[in-house]
Amino acid sequence: MKTLLAAVLLLPCLQDKNEEGFTPLFNGKDLTGWKANESPETFKVEDGKIIANGNRSHLFYVGDVKNHVFKNFELRAQVLCKVKSNSGIYFHTEFQEKGWPDKGFECQVCSNAFSDPRKTGSLYAVKDIPEAPAKDDEWFDYTILVKGKSVTTMINGKVAVEWTQPDDYVPTKDHKGRLLATGTFALQGHDPGSRVEFKNIRVKPLED
């Protein structure tokens, strides 16, 4: 009994070492602290997961952590991408009423079976990878690390993309707001044919 008690007490400590300084953005129960735009019915909470499936819509973090303004940070989430699905995690973005978010960057979630050649782990249309390092229908760990001018995406602990914004960087005409700045996070509901699930979304703000 004592051993069990010790184990129960120890377990969180062991986990915490790697998870030190992380704060959850999603409470696992409802969308408190989050706000969906044009088509809110696209996002549902089930069994501790946020499910994105429906009309195009984006779910913005508008909660209390850092008053939803982040510059340097490490974001972690677990993601499950159904076959032929597309989604993404935006950072440095801000709430907008409709359309694809203008501000910030998208860290792509995209099944290998989906028509878009920019796959999971891509920093969308900035640095893309042609093959998803994650399997469809299986949970994987998504890490986004932003520090100064550099962005790193990791899938299951392995680096997918590393990108440093050059000093003379000019975003493309289509995505004028794709510049490192500050902002919040958003989850993408891409289209009715896509179903992507998120859980355990947590962030560790880093020194600015």
């Binding site: 088509s39 429906g54 009309n55 891409h190 044919g193 179903r195």
Partner: protein, 308 residues
Amino acid sequence: MKALLLLLSLLALQDKKPAPATDPEKAGPDYRIQGEYANGSTGAQVVALGDDKFDVYILAGGLPGAGWDEKTKTRASAKTEGGKTTVSGDWAGEIADGVLSGAGDVQLKRVVRTSPTMGAKAPEGAVVLFDGTSGEEILAGGKPAKVVDGVIWASGTGGFFSKRKFGSIKLHVEFMLSYMPYARGQGRSNSGVYPAGRHECQVLDSFGLKGENNECGGIYTIAKPAVNMCLPPLQWQTYDIEYHLASDGKPATMSVLHNGVKIHENVELKKHTTSAPDNGADDTPGPLHLQDHGNPVAYRNIWLVELK
């Protein structure tokens, strides 16, 4: 004998296919399912294939030219059985009473889009080739085009030719495809608009398809449209074309708005369409030609402005 039987049964099969429909009232129940569906953030195109079957394309962001991300197309199939149209495949749902609904709490209403340039009036100084009354300026077999209820039909005419020849022009033309649900590819309501009789801007029922250089809006075998703006058959559509003759060693060029959306900008035309009726030099005037490809396709409100 066997071969004869086979031939007879093939003919019988062919006979089953109805003639192209030219009147929405007589186009049947599939026609009322076929069409465009949308809400503010998703679009869908439902294409009739005959025998109560349909292809369904779900488009991320909205309809082509109206929000679609121009990449994401989820393909599904639909079938009507016992009065119920069910969608299955990569997306599941149903179509009932003008609403396409299904997975992801998606509800899309059937919409009929009208081109922003529909009914555009000929500006002062324009040459009116056909205003719905007289066929005097647009000839078929050397005679004025036959006008039926304010429109002219290309099939059975050998094609239309403007009475006069023109050089560089700005052209407005409206067309309506007939409904041929059993036909596929180049056999589905085919016609074409040829400025100077040399370079074809394709007219075809390629509603819902990819938008290739031989489909509607394609400059035939030269350039595919930036986006497939083809609307369903039996709906009027517009082309607004700017065509420049070759000059100073530069090739002829064409820019096209299809249903008000820019699909080509100054595309260089370095060869004539194979079936071009005029193979004159590219820096000389030629007649406007509307192709008869054997299928009923209607035209109306045709005018042009001559450019210097």
